[in-house]
C-alpha cells in the first residue's frame, strides 16, 4: 500500500495542471469563469474546431513547426562536425572553446532579443521562419555540440582507424559508420533542439509579426485583443504539448543521457 502511495501522489500532482488544461479546453469560457467542476459540464469541441478552422490559429502552429524543424536541422548538421572535432582532436584552446560554447546557454534569451531584432530588420530577415530558426541556433548549437560530443567520445577512436584501414574515406566513414554509431546521440540532440526551440517564446515573438507568427505569439495576442477566451487558450495550450510528446517517444530510452549532455 505505502509502496504505491507516494508515487501515486507524485504522479497526481504532476498531472494535475495538465489535466486541468485539458479539462478547460473542453469547456466554454463562461463555464470556466462561472463554475468550478472537475469535469466539463457542458462538453464542447468548439475550441478545437475554432483552432483547426481559423487560419489565424492554425498558421501559428505551422509557422512554429517550420522554424523549429529548420532550426533542428541546422543545429544538428552544424553540431555534428563540431562535436566530432572536439571529441577526436586536440587543438590550441579546445577546452576553453568547448566551455565557452556552454556559456552561451547561460545568458537569458532576452539579452539577445534586441540585437537580433535590429540585425534582422536591417537585412530584411524580420518576420521570416529562417530568422527565428537562426536566432535559436545561438542556444541550440552549443547544446547539440555538448550532447553529441558526449556520445561521440563513447565511441572508441579505433573504430575510425579501423575504417581507414579498411579503405574508407573520411566522408564515407562519417556517414556510413560513424553517424549510425552515434544515432541515439543524434536523436537526443535533435529532440533537445526541437524542445528548446518549440517552447522558446521571447525571441520568436520579437522576431515575427504576421507572416511567420509563432503559436506562442498567437496565444498571447489573442488573449489581449478579444478579451479572455480561456477555453480557446486552453485548447491551444493542450495542442502545443503534442509535438513534444511525439518526438520524445522516439528517444525515450536515451533521454537521460541527453540531460547529462551525453556523458555517462
Amino acid at each position: 500500500m505505502s509502496r504505491w502511495l507516494v508515487p501515486t501522489l507524485y504522479i497526481v500532482f504532476l498531472l494535475l495542471p495538465i489535466y486541468w488544461l485539458l479539462n478547460m479546453s473542453f469547456k466554454t469560457t463562461n463555464e470556466i469563469l462561472g463554475t468550478f467542476a472537475l469535469i466539463p459540464l457542458e462538453f464542447t469541441l468548439d475550441n478545437y474546431i475554432k483552432i483547426f478552422t481559423d487560419p489565424a490559429w492554425y498558421r501559428g502552429y505551422i509557422n512554429s513547426i517550420l522554424y523549429v524543424v529548420i532550426n533542428t536541422v541546422i543545429s544538428v548538421s552544424f553540431a555534428l562536425p563540431a562535436a566530432y572535432a572536439f571529441s577526436r582532436y586536440r587543438f590550441l584552446g579546445d577546452k576553453h572553446l568547448f566551455f565557452w560554447l556552454l556559456t552561451n546557454r547561460m545568458a537569458p534569451p532576452a539579452v539577445f532579443a534586441l540585437p537580433f531584432f535590429q540585425l534582422y530588420a536591417a537585412i530584411d530577415l524580420f518576420d521570416t521562419h529562417i530568422a527565428v530558426a537562426l536566432a535559436h541556433c545561438l542556444f541550440n548549437i552549443p547544446l547539440a555540440v555538448w550532447i553529441l560530443e558526449g556520445f561521440m567520445s563513447g565511441v572508441p577512436k579505433q573504430l575510425d582507424e579501423m575504417a581507414y584501414i579498411d579503405g574508407y574515406s573520411f566522408p564515407r566513414f562519417f556517414v556510413k559508420i560513424f553517424m549510425p554509431a552515434v544515432a541515439s546521440g543524434i536523436g537526443v540532440a535533435a529532440f533537445f533542439c526541437f524542445m528548446y526551440s518549440w517552447v522558446e517564446m521571447l525571441l520568436s515573438k520579437t522576431l515575427t509579426s504576421v507572416a511567420a507568427k509563432s503559436i506562442a505569439a498567437t496565444m498571447t495576442r489573442t488573449a489581449s485583443t478579444a478579451g479572455y477566451e480561456l477555453g480557446l487558450l486552453a485548447a491551444a495550450g493542450a495542442l502545443t504539448i503534442i509535438p513534444g510528446a511525439i518526438v520524445i517517444y522516439f528517444v525515450r530510452n536515451y533521454i537521460a543521457r541527453g540531460f547529462s549532455l551525453g556523458r555517462v
Binding site: 579505433q158 584501414i165 564515407r172 559508420i177
Partner: protein, 342 residues
C-alpha cells in the same frame, strides 16, 4: 608520448613476425607507424621495396586487429567481414563467396546474420580477425589480439592463427607481451625495450641466444635469474659456493666478472643432481606457488632473488634451506656491458 628510438627493423616478408616487449615498450606505436595511423617525425617506412612514409592509411593495403574488440556496431557479422571488400567494390557473388569461406574457417558461419553487439567477446574478436583475413592484405597487424580473451579461447586461437595466415601469404606482425606466446607462434621475433628494438631474428634463435641481458629478460617469464660470477682461467666461480668448468664459448674471453643468466626451468630443487643439473648451490625458500602441473619456488641464493620452475608438485615451507641444482646448459653469460658472450 611514446617515442621510438633510432631503429632499423626489416621484417621477414610473408612470414609470421612477433613484436615482443613489455607494456609501453613501443609495440603499438611501431604498429601505428607501419599502418600509417601516425607519421614518424623522422625516418621512413618501407614496404616491399617502396617508401610508404607519406602514403595514407587507406592506400596501404593493410589489415589490423586491435586488443579491444573493434567492429562496426551497426553492421551484421556478414557486413562487418565484408566491409573491406565493399569499399574495394568487389562484386556481390565474390564478396559472398569469400566471406562464407572465411566464416567457415573461424566458425562464424552460424552467426553471419547476427548483430555484432550481441556476440560474446571471443566471437567479436573472431569477426575482427575474419575481416583482417578476408582482405588478403599484404601486411596484417595484430596488436595483442588475444589479450582480452579468456584463456581457453586464447589458447585455441593462438594455435589457429599462424595456420590461418600462412595460407594468405601476408606478412604478419603480431604484438604481444608474453614470451610463451612468441614461442608458440614461432616465426620471427623482434624484442622491444623502451622504444628500442633489442634484437630481431628467428624466434627460436632469439630465445636460445639473446644478444644481451635486456633481451634475455624480455624473453623469459618468470624472469630470468641473474647472478654475478667470476672467471679465472678455465673455471667459473659463483661466490665461493660453487665452481664449474668454463664453457667453450667463454674460454677465449678475458678473466673477471660476468653476469650469468639462467632461466627458471633450468633450476630444480627436487631429487639428486642428475641429467645435466650438475652444479648445486645452497638457497632459502621465500615463497612456493603451485601451478597445476608444476611448482614455482621463489628463492634467495647468495643475496639474489631467484625463481625455480619445475614440473611436479613440491611442497616447501618458507625459510627452508634447500639445494638448488643448476643446469649449466641453460646458462647465458653476459659481460659487464650486458652483452651476451657466446
Amino acid at each position: 608520448m611514446t617515442h621510438i628510438h633510432t631503429t632499423d627493423l626489416a621484417f621477414e616478408d610473408s612470414a609470421f613476425n612477433v613484436l615482443l616487449g613489455a607494456t609501453l615498450s613501443g609495440k603499438t606505436t611501431l604498429m601505428r607507424l607501419m599502418a600509417g595511423l601516425e607519421k614518424p617525425t623522422s625516418g621512413e617506412v618501407w614496404f616491399s621495396g617502396q617508401n610508404v612514409t607519406s602514403v595514407p592509411v587507406q592506400k596501404r593495403n593493410i589489415a589490423m586487429v586491435y586488443q579491444e574488440f573493434i567492429n562496426y556496431p551497426n553492421f551484421s557479422v556478414f557486413e562487418n567481414i565484408a566491409s573491406p571488400l565493399r569499399v574495394a567494390r568487389v562484386n556481390q557473388s565474390e564478396v559472398s563467396r569469400r566471406v562464407q569461406a572465411i566464416a567457415e574457417l573461424l566458425n562464424l558461419s552460424d552467426l553471419l546474420d547476427r548483430d555484432v553487439s550481441n556476440l560474446s567477446g571471443g566471437q567479436q574478436q573472431r569477426t575482427a580477425l575474419a575481416r583482417a583475413l578476408v582482405k588478403e592484405a599484404s601486411l596484417v597487424l595484430l596488436d595483442e589480439p588475444l589479450a582480452n580473451l579468456d584463456y581457453k579461447l586464447r589458447e585455441q586461437l593462438r594455435e589457429e592463427l599462424p595456420r590461418l595466415f600462412s595460407k594468405s601469404g601476408s606478412t604478419v606482425v603480431y604484438a604481444t607481451s608474453e614470451p610463451e606466446e612468441a614461442l608458440m607462434l614461432g616465426g620471427y621475433t623482434a624484442t622491444l625495450h623502451e622504444g628500442r628494438v633489442v634484437q630481431y631474428g628467428k624466434t627460436i634463435d632469439i630465445y636460445r641466444k639473446p644478444c644481451n641481458l635486456e633481451c634475455a629478460k624480455i624473453f623469459s617469464h618468470p624472469p630470468v635469474n641473474i647472478a654475478t660470477v667470476s672467471k679465472s682461467n678455465n673455471s667459473i666461480s659463483f661466490d665461493g659456493v660453487a665452481d664449474w668448468l668454463c664453457p667453450d664459448s667463454l674460454k677465449d674471453n678475458r678473466d673477471g666478472n660476468y653476469t650469468v643468466g639462467i632461466r627458471p626451468h633450468h633450476l630444480t630443487l627436487s631429487g639428486a643432481a642428475a641429467n645435466g643439473y650438475s652444479v648445486t648451490v645452497p638457497g632459502t625458500v621465500q615463497l612456493a606457488e603451485i601451478s597445476g602441473s608444476g611448482s614455482v619456488i621463489h628463492l634467495q641464493v647468495q643475496g639474489n632473488d631467484w625463481i625455480s620452475e619445475s614440473s611436479g608438485i613440491h611442497q616447501f615451507s618458507i625459510g627452508e634451506q634447500v639445494d638448488v641444482h643448476m643446469n649449466l646448459n641453460g646458462c647465458l653469460y653476459f659481460d659487464s656491458e650486458g652483452n651476451a658472450v657466446y
